[in-house]
Symmetry: C2
Subunit: 268 residues, 2 copies
Amino acid sequence: MGTMQFAESRQDGAAILAERALHPLDAPPGARRALRGAEASLPDARAWNELLGAPALGAQELSALNAIARPRFVPQGGVVFALHEAARALVFVREGDAALGCATQDGTFRIERPVHGPGWLDQSSAWIDAAHPVEARAMSPLAVVELPREDVQALMLTQPLLARRLVTGLAREVHALALCTHGLMHKDAPARFAQWLVARFQPSAESSCCGIVKMGERKRDIASQLAITPETLSRLMRSFSRQGLLSVTGYTVHVADVQGLRRIAEGG
Amino acid sequence: MGTMQFAESRQDGAAILAERALHPLDAPPGARRALRGAEASLPDARAWNELLGAPALGAQELSALNAIARPRFVPQGGVVFALHEAARALVFVREGDAALGCATQDGTFRIERPVHGPGWLDQSSAWIDAAHPVEARAMSPLAVVELPREDVQALMLTQPLLARRLVTGLAREVHALALCTHGLMHKDAPARFAQWLVARFQPSAESSCCGIVKMGERKRDIASQLAITPETLSRLMRSFSRQGLLSVTGYTVHVADVQGLRRIAEGG
DNA sequence: CGACGAGTTGAATGACGTCAAACACAGTGG
DNA sequence: CCACTGTGTTTGACGTCATTCAACTCGTCG
Protein backbone atom coordinates (compact mmCIF):
# COMPACT_ATOMS: atom_id res chain seq x y z
CA MET A 1 0.00 0.00 0.00
CA GLY A 2 2.62 2.45 -0.97
CA THR A 3 0.03 4.94 -2.07
CA MET A 4 -1.02 5.77 1.44
CA GLN A 5 2.14 5.33 3.42
CA PHE A 6 2.62 9.05 3.61
CA ALA A 7 -0.36 9.09 5.91
CA GLU A 8 1.86 7.86 8.68
CA SER A 9 4.63 10.28 8.00
CA ARG A 10 2.83 13.50 8.51
CA GLN A 11 1.73 13.99 12.07
CA ASP A 12 4.61 16.37 12.75
CA GLY A 13 4.67 18.36 9.54
CA ALA A 14 0.96 19.13 9.61
CA ALA A 15 1.28 22.20 11.78
CA ILE A 16 3.91 23.77 9.55
CA LEU A 17 1.70 24.04 6.49
CA ALA A 18 -1.09 25.80 8.31
CA GLU A 19 -2.59 27.99 5.58
CA ARG A 20 -0.95 26.55 2.54
CA ALA A 21 -1.87 23.05 3.64
CA LEU A 22 -0.77 20.93 0.75
CA HIS A 23 -1.65 17.58 2.19
CA PRO A 24 -5.05 16.30 3.07
CA LEU A 25 -4.39 14.86 6.46
CA ASP A 26 -5.28 17.78 8.62
CA ALA A 27 -6.92 15.35 10.96
CA PRO A 28 -8.59 16.79 14.04
CA PRO A 29 -6.75 15.82 17.22
CA GLY A 30 -7.94 12.49 18.50
CA ALA A 31 -9.14 11.25 15.15
CA ARG A 32 -5.82 9.60 14.58
CA ARG A 33 -5.86 7.98 17.98
CA ALA A 34 -4.17 4.70 17.36
CA LEU A 35 -6.11 1.47 17.22
CA ARG A 36 -3.97 -0.50 19.56
CA GLY A 37 -4.53 -3.18 22.11
CA ALA A 38 -8.31 -3.08 22.39
CA GLU A 39 -8.85 -2.59 18.66
CA ALA A 40 -11.10 -5.65 18.45
CA SER A 41 -13.44 -4.37 21.12
CA LEU A 42 -17.17 -3.88 20.67
CA PRO A 43 -18.88 -0.68 19.60
CA ASP A 44 -20.12 1.66 22.28
CA ALA A 45 -23.63 3.08 22.47
CA ARG A 46 -22.71 6.13 20.43
CA ALA A 47 -21.42 4.01 17.57
CA TRP A 48 -24.51 1.81 17.53
CA ASN A 49 -26.82 4.80 17.55
CA GLU A 50 -24.95 6.56 14.79
CA LEU A 51 -25.18 3.41 12.75
CA LEU A 52 -28.79 2.55 13.37
CA GLY A 53 -30.27 6.01 13.65
CA ALA A 54 -32.79 7.52 16.00
CA PRO A 55 -34.37 6.80 18.34
CA ALA A 56 -31.63 5.73 20.72
CA LEU A 57 -31.32 2.09 21.64
CA GLY A 58 -32.17 0.74 25.08
CA ALA A 59 -29.65 -0.96 27.29
CA GLN A 60 -30.98 -4.43 26.61
CA GLU A 61 -30.91 -3.90 22.86
CA LEU A 62 -27.33 -2.76 23.10
CA SER A 63 -26.25 -5.78 25.04
CA ALA A 64 -28.13 -8.08 22.69
CA LEU A 65 -26.35 -6.52 19.73
CA ASN A 66 -23.00 -6.74 21.44
CA ALA A 67 -23.68 -10.40 22.11
CA ILE A 68 -23.85 -11.22 18.41
CA ALA A 69 -21.28 -8.70 17.15
CA ARG A 70 -18.02 -10.16 15.89
CA PRO A 71 -15.30 -7.54 16.03
CA ARG A 72 -12.35 -7.82 13.71
CA PHE A 73 -9.25 -5.81 13.00
CA VAL A 74 -8.03 -4.97 9.53
CA PRO A 75 -4.63 -3.37 8.98
CA GLN A 76 -4.26 -0.30 6.81
CA GLY A 77 -4.57 -1.21 3.17
CA GLY A 78 -6.09 -4.58 3.99
CA VAL A 79 -9.12 -6.00 2.24
CA VAL A 80 -12.22 -6.13 4.45
CA PHE A 81 -14.13 -8.14 1.90
CA ALA A 82 -13.48 -8.89 -1.72
CA LEU A 83 -15.54 -8.40 -4.83
CA HIS A 84 -17.99 -11.28 -5.37
CA GLU A 85 -17.26 -12.74 -1.96
CA ALA A 86 -20.39 -14.27 -0.48
CA ALA A 87 -21.88 -12.07 2.24
CA ARG A 88 -22.84 -13.95 5.37
CA ALA A 89 -22.99 -10.99 7.71
CA LEU A 90 -23.76 -7.31 7.86
CA VAL A 91 -20.46 -5.46 7.97
CA PHE A 92 -19.69 -2.05 9.36
CA VAL A 93 -16.64 -0.11 10.42
CA ARG A 94 -16.62 0.94 14.05
CA GLU A 95 -13.61 3.17 13.80
CA GLY A 96 -11.23 4.21 11.08
CA ASP A 97 -11.55 5.06 7.40
CA ALA A 98 -12.51 2.53 4.79
CA ALA A 99 -13.55 2.75 1.17
CA LEU A 100 -15.81 0.84 -1.15
CA GLY A 101 -14.59 0.47 -4.71
CA CYS A 102 -12.89 -1.89 -7.07
CA ALA A 103 -9.36 -2.77 -8.01
CA THR A 104 -8.12 -1.59 -11.39
CA GLN A 105 -5.92 -3.51 -13.78
CA ASP A 106 -2.81 -1.62 -12.72
CA GLY A 107 -3.18 -2.60 -9.09
CA THR A 108 -4.55 0.68 -7.76
CA PHE A 109 -7.86 0.92 -5.99
CA ARG A 110 -10.66 3.00 -7.47
CA ILE A 111 -12.71 4.48 -4.64
CA GLU A 112 -16.42 4.65 -5.21
CA ARG A 113 -17.47 5.64 -1.74
CA PRO A 114 -15.48 6.47 1.38
CA VAL A 115 -16.82 5.26 4.71
CA HIS A 116 -15.80 6.96 7.91
CA GLY A 117 -16.50 4.97 11.04
CA PRO A 118 -18.98 4.37 12.41
CA GLY A 119 -20.67 3.52 9.13
CA TRP A 120 -21.95 0.58 7.14
CA LEU A 121 -19.79 -1.19 4.60
CA ASP A 122 -22.49 -3.63 3.51
CA GLN A 123 -25.78 -3.88 5.30
CA SER A 124 -27.74 -5.38 2.42
CA SER A 125 -26.05 -8.29 0.65
CA ALA A 126 -26.27 -10.73 3.53
CA TRP A 127 -30.07 -10.41 3.67
CA ILE A 128 -30.49 -11.73 0.17
CA ASP A 129 -27.64 -14.25 0.08
CA ALA A 130 -25.88 -12.14 -2.50
CA ALA A 131 -22.21 -11.54 -3.05
CA HIS A 132 -20.66 -8.26 -2.04
CA PRO A 133 -21.10 -6.10 -5.15
CA VAL A 134 -17.86 -4.19 -4.52
CA GLU A 135 -14.65 -4.53 -2.63
CA ALA A 136 -13.98 -2.88 0.74
CA ARG A 137 -10.53 -1.77 1.80
CA ALA A 138 -9.07 -0.24 4.93
CA MET A 139 -7.67 3.23 4.26
CA SER A 140 -6.49 3.40 7.86
CA PRO A 141 -6.16 0.79 10.57
CA LEU A 142 -9.70 -0.39 10.89
CA ALA A 143 -11.99 -1.83 13.53
CA VAL A 144 -14.75 -3.61 11.67
CA VAL A 145 -17.69 -5.46 13.15
CA GLU A 146 -19.70 -8.23 11.55
CA LEU A 147 -23.24 -9.16 12.44
CA PRO A 148 -24.03 -12.66 11.20
CA ARG A 149 -27.27 -12.61 9.28
CA GLU A 150 -28.81 -15.52 11.17
CA ASP A 151 -28.16 -13.88 14.51
CA VAL A 152 -29.61 -10.52 13.53
CA GLN A 153 -32.61 -12.31 12.10
CA ALA A 154 -33.17 -14.17 15.35
CA LEU A 155 -32.75 -10.98 17.32
CA MET A 156 -35.36 -9.21 15.23
CA LEU A 157 -37.99 -11.66 16.38
CA THR A 158 -37.61 -10.58 19.98
CA GLN A 159 -36.55 -6.96 19.49
CA PRO A 160 -39.14 -5.34 17.25
CA LEU A 161 -37.55 -1.90 17.60
CA LEU A 162 -34.30 -3.21 16.21
CA ALA A 163 -36.07 -4.12 13.01
CA ARG A 164 -37.33 -0.56 12.70
CA ARG A 165 -33.78 0.72 12.89
CA LEU A 166 -32.41 -1.73 10.39
CA VAL A 167 -35.12 -0.64 8.01
CA THR A 168 -34.21 2.98 8.58
CA GLY A 169 -30.58 2.29 7.86
CA LEU A 170 -31.38 0.48 4.65
CA ALA A 171 -33.79 3.20 3.61
CA ARG A 172 -31.09 5.80 4.06
CA GLU A 173 -28.77 3.82 1.86
CA VAL A 174 -31.40 3.38 -0.84
CA HIS A 175 -32.00 7.10 -0.78
CA ALA A 176 -28.33 7.95 -1.05
CA LEU A 177 -27.79 5.49 -3.87
CA ALA A 178 -30.85 6.74 -5.73
CA LEU A 179 -29.53 10.29 -5.65
CA CYS A 180 -26.11 9.07 -6.73
CA THR A 181 -27.52 7.11 -9.66
CA HIS A 182 -29.62 10.06 -10.68
CA GLY A 183 -26.58 12.31 -10.62
CA LEU A 184 -24.49 9.94 -12.70
CA MET A 185 -27.25 9.57 -15.27
CA HIS A 186 -28.11 13.20 -15.79
CA LYS A 187 -25.36 15.44 -14.51
CA ASP A 188 -22.09 16.28 -16.20
CA ALA A 189 -18.77 16.56 -14.43
CA PRO A 190 -19.05 20.24 -13.43
CA ALA A 191 -22.50 19.64 -11.99
CA ARG A 192 -21.35 16.64 -9.98
CA PHE A 193 -18.33 18.45 -8.61
CA ALA A 194 -20.41 21.51 -7.73
CA GLN A 195 -22.85 19.21 -5.95
CA TRP A 196 -19.99 17.65 -4.04
CA LEU A 197 -18.72 21.07 -2.99
CA VAL A 198 -22.15 22.29 -1.93
CA ALA A 199 -22.67 19.14 0.15
CA ARG A 200 -19.45 19.78 2.09
CA PHE A 201 -19.78 23.52 2.26
CA GLN A 202 -19.35 25.17 5.64
CA PRO A 203 -20.63 28.74 5.60
CA SER A 204 -18.41 31.35 7.21
CA ALA A 205 -19.53 33.33 10.22
CA GLU A 206 -19.98 36.66 8.46
CA SER A 207 -21.78 35.65 5.28
CA SER A 208 -23.82 32.62 4.36
CA CYS A 209 -22.93 32.81 0.68
CA CYS A 210 -19.23 32.28 1.18
CA GLY A 211 -17.26 29.85 3.27
CA ILE A 212 -14.81 27.00 2.95
CA VAL A 213 -14.66 23.39 1.95
CA LYS A 214 -11.95 21.20 3.43
CA MET A 215 -10.79 18.35 1.25
CA GLY A 216 -10.04 15.48 3.58
CA GLU A 217 -8.74 13.12 0.92
CA ARG A 218 -6.33 13.10 -1.94
CA LYS A 219 -7.76 14.89 -4.94
CA ARG A 220 -7.46 11.75 -7.01
CA ASP A 221 -9.71 9.98 -4.53
CA ILE A 222 -12.25 12.76 -4.70
CA ALA A 223 -12.10 12.51 -8.46
CA SER A 224 -12.74 8.79 -8.47
CA GLN A 225 -15.77 9.26 -6.21
CA LEU A 226 -17.09 11.68 -8.82
CA ALA A 227 -16.28 9.21 -11.61
CA ILE A 228 -13.88 11.61 -13.31
CA THR A 229 -10.10 11.68 -13.71
CA PRO A 230 -7.82 13.75 -11.47
CA GLU A 231 -6.91 15.87 -14.50
CA THR A 232 -10.54 16.77 -15.10
CA LEU A 233 -11.02 17.63 -11.45
CA SER A 234 -8.03 19.94 -11.59
CA ARG A 235 -9.38 21.64 -14.69
CA LEU A 236 -12.79 22.02 -13.08
CA MET A 237 -11.29 23.75 -10.05
CA ARG A 238 -9.42 26.11 -12.31
CA SER A 239 -12.54 26.74 -14.36
CA PHE A 240 -14.61 27.49 -11.27
CA SER A 241 -12.00 29.85 -9.91
CA ARG A 242 -11.75 31.64 -13.26
CA GLN A 243 -15.51 32.17 -12.98
CA GLY A 244 -14.99 33.72 -9.56
CA LEU A 245 -17.00 31.04 -7.78
CA LEU A 246 -14.13 29.96 -5.53
CA SER A 247 -10.41 29.96 -4.99
CA VAL A 248 -8.24 27.00 -4.19
CA THR A 249 -5.22 26.92 -1.91
CA GLY A 250 -3.89 23.45 -1.37
CA TYR A 251 -6.58 21.27 0.13
CA THR A 252 -8.80 24.14 1.17
CA VAL A 253 -11.42 25.62 -1.15
CA HIS A 254 -12.61 29.13 -0.38
CA VAL A 255 -16.10 29.37 -1.78
CA ALA A 256 -17.14 32.85 -2.85
CA ASP A 257 -20.54 32.12 -4.40
CA VAL A 258 -22.49 29.14 -3.13
CA GLN A 259 -25.55 30.10 -5.11
CA GLY A 260 -23.52 29.95 -8.27
CA LEU A 261 -22.31 26.48 -7.35
CA ARG A 262 -25.87 25.41 -6.55
CA ARG A 263 -26.98 26.66 -9.95
CA ILE A 264 -24.29 24.62 -11.66
CA ALA A 265 -25.11 21.59 -9.52
CA GLU A 266 -28.75 21.74 -10.61
CA GLY A 267 -28.32 22.62 -14.23
CA GLY A 268 -26.83 19.29 -15.27
CA MET B 1 -49.47 11.62 -23.22
CA GLY B 2 -49.38 11.58 -26.94
CA THR B 3 -46.20 9.58 -26.89
CA MET B 4 -47.91 6.47 -25.68
CA GLN B 5 -51.35 6.73 -27.17
CA PHE B 6 -50.49 4.23 -29.84
CA ALA B 7 -50.43 1.65 -27.09
CA GLU B 8 -54.19 1.48 -27.22
CA SER B 9 -54.48 1.29 -30.96
CA ARG B 10 -52.54 -1.83 -31.64
CA GLN B 11 -54.20 -4.93 -30.33
CA ASP B 12 -55.49 -5.78 -33.81
CA GLY B 13 -52.44 -4.96 -35.89
CA ALA B 14 -50.09 -6.94 -33.73
CA ALA B 15 -50.76 -10.24 -35.43
CA ILE B 16 -50.02 -8.84 -38.86
CA LEU B 17 -46.44 -7.89 -38.12
CA ALA B 18 -45.58 -11.27 -36.71
CA GLU B 19 -41.92 -11.67 -37.62
CA ARG B 20 -41.09 -8.13 -38.57
CA ALA B 21 -42.67 -6.86 -35.38
CA LEU B 22 -42.07 -3.15 -35.61
CA HIS B 23 -43.80 -2.12 -32.44
CA PRO B 24 -42.88 -3.05 -28.94
CA LEU B 25 -46.25 -4.04 -27.65
CA ASP B 26 -46.17 -7.73 -28.30
CA ALA B 27 -47.82 -8.19 -24.96
CA PRO B 28 -48.57 -11.74 -23.89
CA PRO B 29 -52.29 -12.51 -23.82
CA GLY B 30 -53.78 -11.52 -20.51
CA ALA B 31 -51.14 -8.98 -19.68
CA ARG B 32 -53.27 -6.27 -21.17
CA ARG B 33 -56.32 -7.33 -19.24
CA ALA B 34 -58.07 -4.06 -18.65
CA LEU B 35 -58.09 -2.42 -15.25
CA ARG B 36 -61.78 -1.86 -15.02
CA GLY B 37 -64.31 -1.82 -12.25
CA ALA B 38 -62.29 -3.42 -9.49
CA GLU B 39 -59.10 -1.53 -10.32
CA ALA B 40 -58.86 -0.04 -6.83
CA SER B 41 -59.01 -3.46 -5.18
CA LEU B 42 -56.37 -4.84 -2.86
CA PRO B 43 -53.42 -7.00 -3.87
CA ASP B 44 -53.79 -10.75 -3.74
CA ALA B 45 -51.40 -13.12 -1.99
CA ARG B 46 -49.30 -13.59 -5.11
CA ALA B 47 -48.74 -9.86 -5.46
CA TRP B 48 -47.78 -9.46 -1.79
CA ASN B 49 -45.36 -12.36 -1.96
CA GLU B 50 -43.73 -11.12 -5.14
CA LEU B 51 -43.28 -7.76 -3.50
CA LEU B 52 -41.99 -8.90 -0.12
CA GLY B 53 -40.11 -12.00 -1.14
CA ALA B 54 -39.83 -15.43 0.36
CA PRO B 55 -40.91 -16.98 2.57
CA ALA B 56 -44.61 -16.73 1.81
CA LEU B 57 -46.81 -14.70 4.10
CA GLY B 58 -49.33 -16.25 6.45
CA ALA B 59 -53.03 -15.57 6.23
CA GLN B 60 -53.04 -13.25 9.21
CA GLU B 61 -50.16 -11.23 7.87
CA LEU B 62 -51.94 -10.84 4.57
CA SER B 63 -55.11 -9.61 6.16
CA ALA B 64 -53.17 -7.24 8.39
CA LEU B 65 -51.43 -5.79 5.35
CA ASN B 66 -54.67 -5.50 3.45
CA ALA B 67 -56.14 -3.66 6.42
CA ILE B 68 -53.64 -0.83 6.11
CA ALA B 69 -53.25 -0.82 2.33
CA ARG B 70 -54.71 2.17 0.49
CA PRO B 71 -55.40 1.27 -3.11
CA ARG B 72 -55.48 4.02 -5.70
CA PHE B 73 -55.99 4.19 -9.44
CA VAL B 74 -53.81 6.25 -11.74
CA PRO B 75 -54.77 6.75 -15.38
CA GLN B 76 -52.24 6.15 -18.13
CA GLY B 77 -49.72 8.96 -18.25
CA GLY B 78 -50.72 10.19 -14.82
CA VAL B 79 -48.25 11.17 -12.12
CA VAL B 80 -48.15 8.73 -9.20
CA PHE B 81 -45.94 11.02 -7.16
CA ALA B 82 -43.93 14.05 -8.10
CA LEU B 83 -40.29 14.92 -7.67
CA HIS B 84 -39.55 16.34 -4.20
CA GLU B 85 -43.01 15.46 -2.95
CA ALA B 86 -42.87 14.43 0.70
CA ALA B 87 -43.21 10.67 1.11
CA ARG B 88 -45.64 9.63 3.79
CA ALA B 89 -46.19 6.08 2.63
CA LEU B 90 -44.50 3.18 0.92
CA VAL B 91 -45.78 3.05 -2.64
CA PHE B 92 -45.98 0.12 -5.01
CA VAL B 93 -47.76 -0.77 -8.21
CA ARG B 94 -50.03 -3.77 -7.96
CA GLU B 95 -50.74 -4.04 -11.65
CA GLY B 96 -49.71 -2.15 -14.74
CA ASP B 97 -46.53 -0.53 -15.97
CA ALA B 98 -45.02 2.48 -14.34
CA ALA B 99 -41.68 4.24 -14.62
CA LEU B 100 -39.40 6.20 -12.34
CA GLY B 101 -37.63 9.14 -13.90
CA CYS B 102 -37.74 12.86 -14.28
CA ALA B 103 -39.41 15.35 -16.56
CA THR B 104 -37.21 17.11 -19.08
CA GLN B 105 -37.41 20.76 -20.07
CA ASP B 106 -39.26 19.94 -23.31
CA GLY B 107 -42.09 18.18 -21.51
CA THR B 108 -41.05 14.60 -22.23
CA PHE B 109 -40.36 12.10 -19.48
CA ARG B 110 -36.90 10.59 -19.09
CA ILE B 111 -37.27 7.05 -17.82
CA GLU B 112 -34.65 5.94 -15.33
CA ARG B 113 -36.21 2.68 -14.29
CA PRO B 114 -39.33 0.86 -15.49
CA VAL B 115 -41.48 -0.89 -12.89
CA HIS B 116 -43.77 -3.71 -13.90
CA GLY B 117 -46.43 -4.57 -11.35
CA PRO B 118 -46.21 -5.95 -8.79
CA GLY B 119 -43.18 -3.89 -7.83
CA TRP B 120 -42.07 -1.10 -5.56
CA LEU B 121 -42.10 2.51 -6.68
CA ASP B 122 -40.68 3.86 -3.42
CA GLN B 123 -40.21 1.69 -0.38
CA SER B 124 -37.53 3.81 1.25
CA SER B 125 -38.27 7.54 1.39
CA ALA B 126 -41.16 7.33 3.82
CA TRP B 127 -39.00 5.63 6.45
CA ILE B 128 -36.65 8.56 6.71
CA ASP B 129 -39.15 11.39 6.17
CA ALA B 130 -37.47 12.22 2.90
CA ALA B 131 -38.95 13.52 -0.32
CA HIS B 132 -39.37 11.20 -3.29
CA PRO B 133 -36.04 11.52 -5.10
CA VAL B 134 -37.62 11.00 -8.52
CA GLU B 135 -40.98 11.23 -10.21
CA ALA B 136 -43.21 8.22 -10.87
CA ARG B 137 -45.53 8.04 -13.86
CA ALA B 138 -48.09 5.56 -15.09
CA MET B 139 -47.10 4.12 -18.47
CA SER B 140 -50.34 2.14 -18.54
CA PRO B 141 -53.50 2.34 -16.47
CA LEU B 142 -52.16 1.66 -13.02
CA ALA B 143 -53.34 0.13 -9.77
CA VAL B 144 -51.06 1.54 -7.09
CA VAL B 145 -51.16 0.79 -3.38
CA GLU B 146 -49.87 2.97 -0.58
CA LEU B 147 -48.86 1.74 2.85
CA PRO B 148 -48.78 4.63 5.32
CA ARG B 149 -45.50 4.60 7.20
CA GLU B 150 -47.11 4.86 10.64
CA ASP B 151 -49.32 1.88 9.97
CA VAL B 152 -46.53 -0.34 8.69
CA GLN B 153 -44.44 0.68 11.66
CA ALA B 154 -47.20 -0.29 14.07
CA LEU B 155 -47.71 -3.55 12.26
CA MET B 156 -44.03 -4.41 12.54
CA LEU B 157 -44.30 -4.41 16.32
CA THR B 158 -46.76 -7.28 16.29
CA GLN B 159 -45.63 -9.06 13.11
CA PRO B 160 -41.93 -9.72 13.40
CA LEU B 161 -41.82 -11.71 10.19
CA LEU B 162 -43.13 -8.76 8.26
CA ALA B 163 -40.10 -6.77 9.31
CA ARG B 164 -37.84 -9.47 7.93
CA ARG B 165 -39.53 -9.18 4.56
CA LEU B 166 -39.38 -5.42 4.44
CA VAL B 167 -35.68 -5.67 5.15
CA THR B 168 -35.30 -8.18 2.33
CA GLY B 169 -37.09 -5.92 -0.09
CA LEU B 170 -34.94 -2.94 0.83
CA ALA B 171 -31.79 -5.04 0.63
CA ARG B 172 -32.70 -6.12 -2.89
CA GLU B 173 -33.14 -2.52 -3.90
CA VAL B 174 -29.81 -1.50 -2.37
CA HIS B 175 -28.16 -4.32 -4.25
CA ALA B 176 -29.73 -3.38 -7.56
CA LEU B 177 -28.87 0.29 -7.13
CA ALA B 178 -25.31 -0.52 -6.15
CA LEU B 179 -24.83 -2.53 -9.33
CA CYS B 180 -26.41 0.25 -11.36
CA THR B 181 -24.18 2.92 -9.83
CA HIS B 182 -21.15 0.75 -10.40
CA GLY B 183 -22.09 0.31 -14.04
CA LEU B 184 -22.62 4.01 -14.61
CA MET B 185 -19.31 4.86 -12.99
CA HIS B 186 -17.09 2.39 -14.80
CA LYS B 187 -18.77 1.09 -17.94
CA ASP B 188 -19.10 2.79 -21.28
CA ALA B 189 -22.17 2.71 -23.47
CA PRO B 190 -21.41 -0.55 -25.32
CA ALA B 191 -20.72 -2.32 -22.02
CA ARG B 192 -23.96 -1.09 -20.48
CA PHE B 193 -26.02 -2.06 -23.50
CA ALA B 194 -24.37 -5.49 -23.67
CA GLN B 195 -25.13 -5.94 -19.99
CA TRP B 196 -28.75 -4.98 -20.61
CA LEU B 197 -28.97 -7.53 -23.42
CA VAL B 198 -27.37 -10.31 -21.39
CA ALA B 199 -29.75 -9.65 -18.51
CA ARG B 200 -32.78 -10.09 -20.78
CA PHE B 201 -31.35 -12.89 -22.83
CA GLN B 202 -33.47 -15.99 -23.31
CA PRO B 203 -31.41 -18.90 -24.64
CA SER B 204 -32.91 -20.86 -27.48
CA ALA B 205 -33.78 -24.54 -27.15
CA GLU B 206 -31.00 -25.87 -29.39
CA SER B 207 -28.02 -23.84 -28.22
CA SER B 208 -27.30 -21.95 -25.05
CA CYS B 209 -25.01 -19.46 -26.75
CA CYS B 210 -27.67 -18.03 -29.04
CA GLY B 211 -31.21 -16.93 -28.40
CA ILE B 212 -33.40 -13.88 -28.50
CA VAL B 213 -34.08 -10.71 -26.59
CA LYS B 214 -37.49 -9.14 -26.83
CA MET B 215 -37.60 -5.40 -26.44
CA GLY B 216 -40.77 -4.63 -24.55
CA GLU B 217 -40.42 -0.87 -24.73
CA ARG B 218 -39.68 1.81 -27.24
CA LYS B 219 -36.01 1.94 -28.09
CA ARG B 220 -35.81 5.50 -26.88
CA ASP B 221 -37.01 4.34 -23.48
CA ILE B 222 -34.41 1.61 -23.40
CA ALA B 223 -31.83 4.21 -24.31
CA SER B 224 -32.84 6.52 -21.49
CA GLN B 225 -32.61 3.66 -18.99
CA LEU B 226 -29.04 3.15 -20.21
CA ALA B 227 -28.37 6.88 -19.94
CA ILE B 228 -27.57 7.19 -23.64
CA THR B 229 -29.37 8.82 -26.57
CA PRO B 230 -31.57 6.87 -29.01
CA GLU B 231 -29.05 7.64 -31.75
CA THR B 232 -26.25 6.04 -29.81
CA LEU B 233 -28.36 2.98 -29.08
CA SER B 234 -29.11 2.62 -32.77
CA ARG B 235 -25.42 2.87 -33.62
CA LEU B 236 -24.56 0.32 -30.95
CA MET B 237 -27.02 -2.18 -32.37
CA ARG B 238 -25.55 -1.69 -35.81
CA SER B 239 -22.04 -2.02 -34.44
CA PHE B 240 -22.87 -5.24 -32.59
CA SER B 241 -24.49 -6.75 -35.64
CA ARG B 242 -21.52 -5.80 -37.82
CA GLN B 243 -19.39 -7.71 -35.31
CA GLY B 244 -21.65 -10.71 -35.79
CA LEU B 245 -22.80 -10.73 -32.19
CA LEU B 246 -26.47 -10.34 -33.03
CA SER B 247 -28.99 -9.32 -35.63
CA VAL B 248 -31.89 -6.98 -35.14
CA THR B 249 -35.30 -7.24 -36.73
CA GLY B 250 -37.72 -4.69 -35.39
CA TYR B 251 -38.10 -5.15 -31.67
CA THR B 252 -36.56 -8.59 -31.58
CA VAL B 253 -32.83 -9.11 -31.17
CA HIS B 254 -31.45 -12.45 -32.30
CA VAL B 255 -28.33 -13.02 -30.26
CA ALA B 256 -25.68 -15.14 -31.95
CA ASP B 257 -22.88 -14.93 -29.40
CA VAL B 258 -23.79 -14.38 -25.76
CA GLN B 259 -20.24 -14.93 -24.62
CA GLY B 260 -19.12 -12.09 -26.82
CA LEU B 261 -21.76 -9.85 -25.29
CA ARG B 262 -20.72 -10.93 -21.80
CA ARG B 263 -17.15 -10.07 -22.63
CA ILE B 264 -18.15 -6.61 -23.78
CA ALA B 265 -20.36 -6.17 -20.73
CA GLU B 266 -17.44 -6.94 -18.41
CA GLY B 267 -14.72 -5.08 -20.22
CA GLY B 268 -15.99 -1.60 -19.38
C1' DC C 1 -52.03 12.07 -49.94
C1' DG C 2 -50.12 14.57 -45.89
C1' DA C 3 -49.03 14.63 -41.01
C1' DC C 4 -46.91 12.50 -37.40
C1' DG C 5 -43.97 9.78 -34.52
C1' DA C 6 -40.40 6.18 -34.29
C1' DG C 7 -36.12 4.92 -35.82
C1' DT C 8 -31.84 5.40 -38.56
C1' DT C 9 -27.84 7.67 -40.56
C1' DG C 10 -24.19 11.18 -41.25
C1' DA C 11 -21.51 15.34 -40.10
C1' DA C 12 -20.12 18.46 -36.66
C1' DT C 13 -19.35 19.62 -32.00
C1' DG C 14 -18.05 19.06 -27.45
C1' DA C 15 -16.86 16.78 -23.17
C1' DC C 16 -13.93 14.01 -21.07
C1' DG C 17 -10.03 10.67 -20.96
C1' DT C 18 -5.18 9.60 -22.14
C1' DC C 19 -0.52 10.62 -22.46
C1' DA C 20 3.50 13.08 -21.42
C1' DA C 21 5.92 16.68 -19.34
C1' DA C 22 6.56 19.92 -15.70
C1' DC C 23 6.01 21.40 -11.06
C1' DA C 24 5.64 21.29 -5.84
C1' DC C 25 6.69 19.30 -1.71
C1' DA C 26 8.42 15.73 1.82
C1' DG C 27 11.86 12.80 3.04
C1' DT C 28 16.59 11.07 2.53
C1' DG C 29 21.35 11.06 2.40
C1' DG C 30 25.36 13.38 1.39
C1' DC D 1 22.91 23.31 2.70
C1' DC D 2 21.99 20.72 -1.43
C1' DA D 3 21.03 17.29 -4.74
C1' DC D 4 17.98 13.32 -5.41
C1' DT D 5 13.85 10.48 -5.18
C1' DG D 6 9.00 9.48 -4.66
C1' DT D 7 4.37 10.99 -4.65
C1' DG D 8 0.73 14.09 -5.87
C1' DT D 9 -0.99 17.68 -8.68
C1' DT D 10 -1.15 20.71 -12.66
C1' DT D 11 -0.98 21.80 -17.46
C1' DG D 12 -1.12 21.19 -22.46
C1' DA D 13 -1.72 18.42 -26.69
C1' DC D 14 -4.34 15.11 -28.58
C1' DG D 15 -7.71 11.33 -29.27
C1' DT D 16 -12.07 9.14 -28.50
C1' DC D 17 -16.59 8.55 -27.38
C1' DA D 18 -21.03 10.18 -27.14
C1' DT D 19 -24.26 13.95 -27.91
C1' DT D 20 -26.38 17.30 -30.99
C1' DC D 21 -28.45 18.68 -35.11
C1' DA D 22 -30.42 17.78 -39.36
C1' DA D 23 -31.89 14.98 -42.91
C1' DC D 24 -34.16 10.88 -44.30
C1' DT D 25 -37.03 6.28 -44.21
C1' DC D 26 -40.80 3.66 -42.77
C1' DG D 27 -45.28 2.68 -41.09
C1' DT D 28 -49.69 4.40 -39.17
C1' DC D 29 -53.58 7.28 -38.97
C1' DG D 30 -56.67 10.85 -40.49
